[in-house]
C-alpha cells in the first residue's frame, strides 16, 4: 500500500529524514512513532506529495504519485495534526465543498450519515471555529472519510484531546480498521498506538529505527520475561532462594510484592512458584507482565541504548 526506499529529505540546515525504508501492507493499521522533531510529519508530507524528497523512492498503491496523482489522491483520506477549516464556511458547507472536490455522488446523504454517526448532525450549520477541539477533530475525520478512502493517513489524530475525545476518535479508527481500510497513524501518544496498531515503526532523529509488530519490538529490546508475584509475607530466606534460581535474571522485593525478571528461554513460572513456596510463604497472586510500548519506545529512542536494538537496523 505504502512503500518507501531510502527516502531522504534534506533542508539547508537539517537532514529531516534519512534513508527511510518502510512498507505498509493493505488492511493493516501501521503505527508511526517518534518523539517531536523525529521527522514523522516530514515523512507524511512526502507521502502526500506536499514535500519533494531529496532522494529515495516512494510509491502508494504500487505506483508513484507523479504518475497517478489524481487517482491516488482520490483514494486517500487525511487527518492532519491541526484541523484546518475555512473561516467563512459552516461545517456543512465545508464538507459539501470537499465532497464536490472528490466528486461524491449524493453528497447530502453521505454528509448527513457521517455527521449523524459522529454526533455532529445538530451542529452542522455552525462554523467549525465555534466547535470544541474534539468536535473539530471529528469533523476532520468526517471530511477524510467522505469519499470512502482505501488509505487513511492520520497525523497525531488525538493530540490535544481530552479522554472523552480520544475515546471517540479511537472508536472511529477501530471502525475503519474493521471495514478493511489501511490506516497509517502517526502519534507520540503511545497508548493509542499500542491499542490499535498491527505493526509499528519507530523514528528518531530522522531515521527509521525499527519496523515490526509490538511483540517483535518488545523482543528486540528485551528477551526476558517479567513476573509480578504477591505473597502473604516475605521470609528472610526469600532473597537468597531467588538468587539461587539460575533462570532468574534479577528480582526486586517491595513489601509483599516481588518483581522477578526471568530469562526468556522457556516458561519457568511453575519453578518460580515452587521456589517461593519452599521459602515458607504463600503466593496470593502472580501475573506475567510484558514490556509496554512506552518502555520499548524509550529503549529505542534513548540515545544511550539505541545500540541495543536489532542488529543491522540501527547504526
Amino acid at each position: 500500500m505504502i512503500s518507501t526506499r531510502n527516502l531522504t529529505k534534506t533542508y539547508p540546515e537539517v537532514e529531516a529524514v534519512k534513508d527511510v525504508t518502510l512498507n505498509v501492507h493493505a488492511g493493516e493499521v501501521y503505527g508511526f512513532l517518534g518523539p517531536n522533531g523525529a521527522g514523522k510529519s516530514t515523512t507524511i508530507a512526502m507521502l502526500l506529495g506536499l514535500e519533494k524528497p531529496t532522494s529515495g523512492e516512494l510509491s502508494l498503491f504500487g505506483t508513484s504519485l507523479e504518475n497517478n496523482y489524481f487517482s491516488i489522491k482520490n483514494a486517500i483520506g487525511v487527518v492532519g495534526e491541526n484541523p484546518y477549516f475555512f473561516d467563512e464556511m459552516t461545517a456543512w458547507e465545508y464538507l459539501s465543498f470537499h465532497a464536490d472536490i472528490f466528486r461524491i455522488e449524493s453528497k447530502e446523504n453521505r454528509i448527513n450519515q457521517l455527521m449523524e454517526h459522529v454526533g455532529l448532525r445538530q451542529y452542522a450549520n455552525i462554523r467549525p471555529s465555534e466547535y470544541s477541539r474534539g468536535m473539530r477533530q471529528k469533523l476532520s475525520f468526517v471530511r477524510a472519510l467522505l469519499h470512502k478512502p482505501d488509505l487513511l493517513i492520520l497525523d497525531e489524530p488525538v493530540s490535544g484531546l481530552d479522554p472523552h475525545g480520544i475515546r471517540q476518535i479511537r472508536e472511529l479508527i477501530e471502525e475503519q480498521k474493521k471495514s478493511g481500510t489501511t490506516i497509517f497513524i502517526s502519534s507520540h501518544i503511545l497508548s493509542e498506538i499500542e491499542r490499535t496498531a498491527d505493526r509499528i515503526a519507530i523514528m528518531h532523529k530522522g531515521k527509521l529505527l525499527v519496523e515490526d509488530n509490538l511483540d517483535g519490538l518488545r523482543y528486540s529490546v528485551d528477551q526476558s520475561v517479567r513476573v509480578n508475584v504477591e505473597v502473604t509475607h516475605v521470609p528472610e530466606s526469600l532473597p537468597t532462594v531467588l538468587s539461587d534460581v539460575p533462570y532468574i535474571v534479577d528480582h526486586n522485593i517491595n513489601g509483599q510484592h516481588i518483581e522477578i525478571r526471568l530469562d526468556g528461554s522457556s516458561d519457568h513460572r511453575a519453578e518460580v512458584s515452587a521456589a517461593i513456596t519452599a521459602s515458607g510463604t504463600t503466593i496470593i497472586g502472580m501475573e506475567t507482565r510484558k514490556a509496554s510500548l512506552e518502555e520499548t519506545f524509550m529503549t529505542f529512542t534513548d540515545d544511550n541504548v539505541v545500540g541495543l536494538s536489532k542488529a543491522g537496523e540501527v547504526e
Binding site: L50, K73, N74, G80, F85, F86, D87, F97, I101, F102
Partner: protein, 270 residues
Amino acid sequence: MQTAIIMHKRDLRIALFGPVLHIFTTVSILVGIVIIRNYLSYIESNGLYPMPDLFSFPFRWVIIVTGVYIAFSAVVAIARERESGAMELLFYGPVDNVSYVIGKYSAQFTLYCLLIVLYLICFLILSNITGVQIPASFFMMMLLSVFTGAYLISVGVFVSMVSTSVRSATLVFLALIASTLLIQGSQAWLSNIAPVSDYYNPVLLLQQLLGWVQIGLSWLSPFSYLNYGVDEMLRGNMNAFLRVIGLSIVFCLVFIVSSVIGLKFRGVRQ
C-alpha cells in the same frame, strides 16, 4: 479542471457575500460620480467641456483602483490560505498546482469582470441622467481594461504564490504598485521642469534616468499598457491598441505559468 471550477465558485461566492467588496465598489462609484459632478459644475459655470470625453477619466480611475484592489485581495487571500494551513488541506485531496492557480486566478478575474460590467451599467445610467453621450472610445477603453486588469491580477497571484507570509506578500505587492506609480508620476513631474541646458545638470540627468526606467516600465506595467493603449486608440492607431491587448494576454499567461512553477517550488505548507 473540475477542481479549479469548484474552487473558483467557492472563492467567488466568498467574495460576493463578503462586505468588503460591496463597500469598496460603492466608494469607487461614489468617487466616480463626484468627479463627473465636478465636471458638470465646471460646464455649468463656464459653458465649456473640460475634456472631450466626460466619462473617460473617472472610469479609468475606477478601473485602475479596482484592478489594484482585486489583485491585492488575491494576494492577501492566497497568502492567508497558506498561512492558516487551508492550502495544505486542499492539497490533501485531488488538487494540484495547476488547478489551484487557475481556480484562484479565475475567481478574481471573474470578479473583476463583474465589477467592470457593474461600472458600465452605472456610467450608462449617469449618461442617461446627464444627457451626455458616451463615445465609442469609452467602450474600447473598457475592453482594454479587461486585459490589463487580467495582467495585474496575475501579478498579484504570482506574488502570493511565491511569498512566505501574508506580511511579505502584502509588502512586496504594495511596494511593486507604489514604485510603479511613483516612477511614472515622478517622470511626468520632472518632465515639466525645464532645466538650463547643461550636460551636468542633475535634473537633466534624473530626467534622462527616469525616462529610461519609464521606457522599461512601459513594457511591464499594466498601468502603462492601459494608458498607452487608450492614447493610441484615441489617435486611431488600432494596431498599437491590439498590440497592447496581445502583450497583456502574453504577460498574463507568463505570470500564471510562473505562479504554477512558483507554487511548485515554494510548496503549500506554512
